[in-house]
Amino acid sequence: MTQSPTLSRRSSSSASPQPRKSRRRGADARAGYTFLLPWLLGFIALTVGPMISSLYLSFTNYNLFEAPKWIGLDNYVTLFQDERFLQSVGVTMQYVIFGTPLKLAAALAIAMLLNSKRKGQGFYRSAFYAPSLIGASVSIAIVWKAMFGDSGPVDQGLSFFGINLGGWVGNPNMTMGMMILLTVWQFGAPMVIFLAGLKQIPADLYEAASMDGAGPVRKFMNITWPMLSPVIFFNLLMETIHAFQIFASAYIISNGEGGPAGSTLFYTLYLYLRGFSDFRMGYASAMAWLLVIVVGVITLIFFKTSKSWVHYSGDSK
């Protein structure tokens, strides 16, 4: 879509058909593909193959034990009559819609703080990046569960200020907040990318703006934001997709059940339960494919809208 004009522009300008050169190019390509082969084989055997078989299984009643039987669109139709499926969609959407922007805002804010030249910045960068290195691990989910439990540090800390919420882990109204805090806390990966982007913005733009009397808000809105917009776009896209895939932390915190009262029944967790607890692998495959389609459509929408707010160098606007 968006890429095609750029790509064709490139090929028309750079390809100058000279026979000798193209022969060498053919050899280069062969060497390239040879080096690529190990990855390509793995990709086909471990990713494309299973994906195709899961697409097939999504039209069957496969239960892990018996040969799958074709049932057409039954799984997809049943999905929309399944209350728990709809609940899992609701829970996941809440998480994506609130968790992702908050996480990105935290990442951008910290990146801007770390962008100034002060002593010990290297240390702070590592320190802020650390949580996202260990964040996806099982141990952190367990720590989180203990922190937000009855009489855990969070409960006690809030009680000190007279806010008595009790443990968050057992309260269906608080678990989503807890999960969102967990993801916001893992802002390290987008932060590093933001930081790299911020470093690319020429300092003279800010100097010029200062000369013209622009304040920090103005500078952010008119320089940082547009100059950084490709990076923001990239992070938004990746983090949104990432948020749809939340599984491990929810699994640990709810003992693999999606409780309390279904408040952490994330899409992938329900998919897993359907597949591996209820042995309805066909149903689970249908859920997986629906997720791929939804994520694909959302990505497409992001790309379409990006034209109006993402600015690239060399663009005429």
């Binding site: 009643n61 018996e66 209350e83 057992g170 690319q200 990239f234 992938t268 897993y272 694909g296 690239y312």
Partner: protein, 428 residues
């Protein structure tokens, strides 16, 4: 600065691979395969707590010393994770050679040819009560050998009752009396101690209540034998107690999981299987716990039965049938194994093992309890329907949502019935 072309390519590739991963990461998790390098190493897996792990380790060491030609590689998890792991392994064709099993899942795996017909290997069942063996059999094939029996009971902590000044129950009580008992404990416990957990969320207690009312849980052709109204009536049994100190709040139960409320010293009583004694004592550190029969509104019909608390099964695909059979035989019959486990698996099912075990203290309580209810016992249940494990889990979940106030009584009953009927249709 960031170049548009490069950037878009990166994004497109990144997005594509992420989307691929989102689809495949979930559905293609391969089962773990056991090591097959050593031809006499068999894999054994069980669920349970640290206490059981320690006892099992001892039993395995004993087996290995008596059978130097077989090595046993042990592995354990908690109950909920256990079945998800087995499903993954079954899909990958890599079930462990020998497994501890639960009645709830016997049909799921047995009927689908995942388990070895133990009638085809040498396991001595002479010392077993003939009425118990059918609970490990499906359509004439023996898929599981019971290690031990358990029965439902009400646990209570006499020391806690005494400190509150509550009289110890004698176990001849109606549901109303049991509820009043829990309320008294809760009121005197003053927030530090609750009466018990909401027993209406436990499938097996519901099953017992159905038996007390002469209703079959499942019909012979694998359909539900009770109505929505029965279920609503059951869940209503504790309706007045919800939100009172009689029952530990659902928030607490959720946070304590996988530990039980009783094991965490939050409640003074609990309705569950009598073989949880060792686990509860270990978890709570209580000096003594006592057992009395479950309540019934019909004093002559307590609806109680002895169930195989667990079974030993072997994978249909095991390469070491002989070694697996010898290990199973050892685990269910050997008197020394009885000495190691005492009643932590339940009361040993094999007479050889039972007679070879000395029961003292709390173990004696469990054995005595099963003796005391002998006159009330009815037939052991057959292996429940395919997918029963799912139904049991969703029974607990729906009743938890009822306790959270997220579902009304009607909504809860509708929700469970819809799921049950859907599941029965699926597996028909």
């Amino acid at each position: 600065m960031i170049d548009r072309r490069k950037f878009l390519t990166t994004v497109a590739l990144g997005t594509a691979s992420a989307a691929f991963l989102s689809a495949c990461g979930q559905s293609s998790t391969a089962g773990q395969t056991g090591s097959a390098e050593n031809p006499v190493t068999i894999n054994y897996t069980w669920w349970g707590n640290d206490d059981r792990a320690e006892r099992t380790r001892k039993a395995i060491a004993l087996f290995e010393s008596k059978n130097p030609d077989i090595k046993v590689n042990g592995n354990f998890t908690d109950f909920a994770g256990y079945w998800q792991k087995r499903a993954t392994e079954a899909a990958g064709g890599g079930l462990p050679d020998v497994m501890q099993w639960d009645l709830s899942y016997l049909r799921d795996y047995g009927q689908r040819n995942q388990l070895l017909d133990l009638g085809t290997v040498k396991i001595n069942t002479d010392a077993f009560d003939k009425s118990l063996l059918p609970s490990g059999q499906i359509r004439g094939k023996t898929y599981g050998i019971p290690t031990s029996t358990n029965a439902f009971a009400v646990y209570y902590d006499p020391a806690k009752l005494q400190s509150l000044g509550v009289a110890e129950p004698d176990g001849q009580w109606t549901y109303k009396e049991f509820n009043e008992f829990m309320l008294e404990v809760g009121q005197k416990g003053n927030g530090a101690l609750y009466g018990g957990t909401d027993y209406t969320g436990v499938w097996w207690m519901f099953n017992i209540w159905l038996r007390q009312n002469n209703i079959q849980a499942f019909t012979d052709d694998g359909k539900l034998g009770f109505t929505k109204d029965d279920l609503k009536k059951w869940w209503n049994t504790t309706a007045e107690l919800r939100g009172t100190p009689a029952l530990v709040p659902e928030e607490r139960v959720t946070q304590l999981a996988p530990k039980s409320a009783m094991g965490s010293n939050v409640t003074a009583s609990e309705v569950t299987w009598d073989n949880f004694m060792a686990g509860y004592l270990g978890d709570s550190g209580a000096k003594e716990l006592k057992l009395v029969p479950v309540p019934s509104d019909d004093p002559d019909n307590l609806g109680l039965f002895l169930k195989p608390s667990m079974l030993m099964v072997a994978s249909a695909k095991t390469k070491y049938k002989d070694a697996a059979a010898r290990f199973i035989d050892f685990m269910v019959n050997d008197p020394e194994v009885g000495q190691i486990f005492k009643t932590s698996r339940g009361v040993p099912a094999s007479k050889t093992q039972r007679d070879g075990t000395t029961f003292e203290g709390t173990d004696k309580l469990v054995v005595d309890y099963e003796k005391s209810i002998e006159k009330y016992l009815k037939d052991a249940p057959e292996p429940p329907i395919v997918g029963f494990g799912t139904l049991e889990a969703s029974f607990k979940r729906v009743s938890s949502e009822l306790n959270y106030g997220k579902l009304t009584l009607d909504g809860a009953a509708d929700s469970w019935f819809k799921e049950a009927e859907d599941l029965i249709k699926q597996n028909a």
